[in-house]
Amino acid sequence: MKKRKERIDRGIKARSGDIFALSSYREMMYLSAPRFVPIIGFLILPLLLGVYWQKVLLSVAVFALLAISWDILAQTGMVSLGQALFFGVGAYITGALNHYWGVPPFISIPLATIFGGIICTLMLLPVLRLRGIYFSMVTLIIPLMLVRVIEATKIFGGTEGLTGMTPLPSRWVEVYLVIGIMLVCLFGFRRMMDSDYGLVLRGICDNDRSVINAGINIYWYKTQALFIASSIGAFAGALMTHVYMFVGMPVFALDYSIFPIAAVVVGGPGTLAGATLGACLLVPLSEALRGFGGLRIVFYGIFLVVFTVAIPEGIFPYVQRKYNEFERWVEVDK
């Protein structure tokens, strides 16, 4: 008799999927553990790590934010190659506010988040109607263009950049602020993408004409998604400015555009949690490989290739599937 591998939802998953009538600690754990592990992990880690690795954790959180922002855009059908635009605009706004007018960080960061979002959205508004590669091209070009504008016109300190930002009160505030915001973004936007509002956004990616047929103005929804994503990126940039106490042309570097994409690809697109997981793996890996000197990028590249070939769906969806389903061999019968 021939056999076939069958995939079935775990009993707990089947019971707890629709109704939250939980009967035991085991089932409560089953549901809450995947949520609590990252929360508790991120809250405890800064206490255990030294100063250097705390900075690494900080950049993990910043890249996770950028990756979440990329993933939200991608789920709405806009493949962006310019996360650096959001990052850089946020960084320069808070930098200018703090440098020229002495606005304290706790006011300038929220201002940069909101106005960064608005400015980036306005900049990309004309290309919102473009789809696919055309949108990507424009998002890729704008940050590269802004760098040259700053270099040529010498505004905001030109090539030197602006220095002497007010630092945040302590490194604990820095790390917990960014981790807190990252966790809020992760769980909040995950919930948002599961709501009816998120359904419309994902529908735009799937088949925009059908969404128009449902009587929805997709450009208005795309604008909103763009604002959300660029605000997240602008926050990351603004925070990093106050951490480094410096803002200059490197904030528009290609790293901030490409790295979030790599994180999402490794972690798994369309889940936001995958984006975070990808950043958690890639940033520390890139730090750990520093010992190899010039070969660092090579090893890093090999790792990326191996991962994308071995688990093309992404780590998070893979783990999620293993967690929710089990497989068994059954006989093929007629």
């Binding site: 021939k2 076939r4 591998k5 995939r7 093309p312 769906e313 969806p317 599937r321 093929v332 007629k334």
Partner: protein, 248 residues
């Protein structure tokens, strides 16, 4: 010519085809009649080998696991695991559902792409034949295929399958979305193909009325299982078929 033995196809845990067996002899027109989600397209994909490609892609994406059991024999050779491009070289060509064509290319270019395996002369000859078969296409030779109407696209799709000079032509719902007039011309064309060049045709259809008169043999599929089979006349006289697939 083509034989299917105990074919079972699973999409994850859902059974799409269940123990399906059928035989197709050379020169026959065989109809697969079934309602929505009966498994017609799955059967066509299995015969043309596209399901192998689908399986690999789904596996990489971590999506549904597609498993195929049973055998497909072509000229007494087991081709169950043969890749779709190999099957085209062996002479099995599928014209897929919903007339997929290259919308950016012109009608003639479409046929040239489809006939990549054949020589220039062969393509010219077959193209001539296709334009005779579907006179409606002649005036759109240089027009972009994406702008053709649904019926013309369907004709083009069949033409693109013919350019490969198949021995077995698989037509998945060739009448889908066509007006009764268009349906008639496609049916006439299929009959003409079968008579004049002797191509074996397997076609699947939901609406049996235009199809039944021309087929030599018909199989009725329901929920992936074979429920009835017989010659076209036998099926036409069957009261159950009349009720279910004739719309009377």
């Amino acid at each position: 010519m083509l034989e299917v033995k105990d074919l079972m196809v699973f999409f994850e845990n859902a059974l799409a085809l269940n123990g399906l067996s059928l035989t197709v002899n050379k020169g026959e027109i065989v109809g697969i009649i079934g309602s929505n989600s009966a498994g017609k397209t799955t059967l066509m994909n299995t015969l043309s080998g596209l399901i192998i490609d689908m399986r690999i892609k789904e596996e990489l994406r971590g999506g549904e696991r597609i498993s195929v059991y049973g055998k497909v024999l072509y000229k007494n050779k087991d081709i169950t695991l043969t890749k779709p491009d190999e099957r085209v070289k062996m002479g099995i060509v599928l014209s897929r559902e919903r007339h997929p064509i290259f919308p950016e290319s012109s009608v003639v270019e479409n046929m040239k792409i489809a006939g990549y395996l054949r020589t220039k002369k062969e393509i010219q000859e077959t193209m001539q034949y296709v334009f005779e078969l579907f006179p409606g296409l002649t005036k759109y030779k240089k027009k972009r295929a994406g702008f053709l109407s649904g019926g013309e696209q369907q004709m083009l799709a069949i033409g693109m399958a013919l350019i490969v000079r198949p021995e077995v032509l698989l037509l998945d719902e060739p009448l889908l979305g066509l007006s009764p007039m268009m349906q008639k011309s496609v049916v006439d064309a299929i009959r003409d193909l079968n008579k004049s060049i002797g191509i074996t045709v397997i076609l699947s259809e939901q609406f049996a009325r235009p199809v039944l008169p021309m087929i030599d043999k018909g199989y009725v599929v329901e929920n992936g299982m074979l429920t009835l089979s017989g010659t076209g006349q036998e099926l036409m006289d069957n009261p159950e078929i009349k009720a279910a697939y004739f719309g009377v």
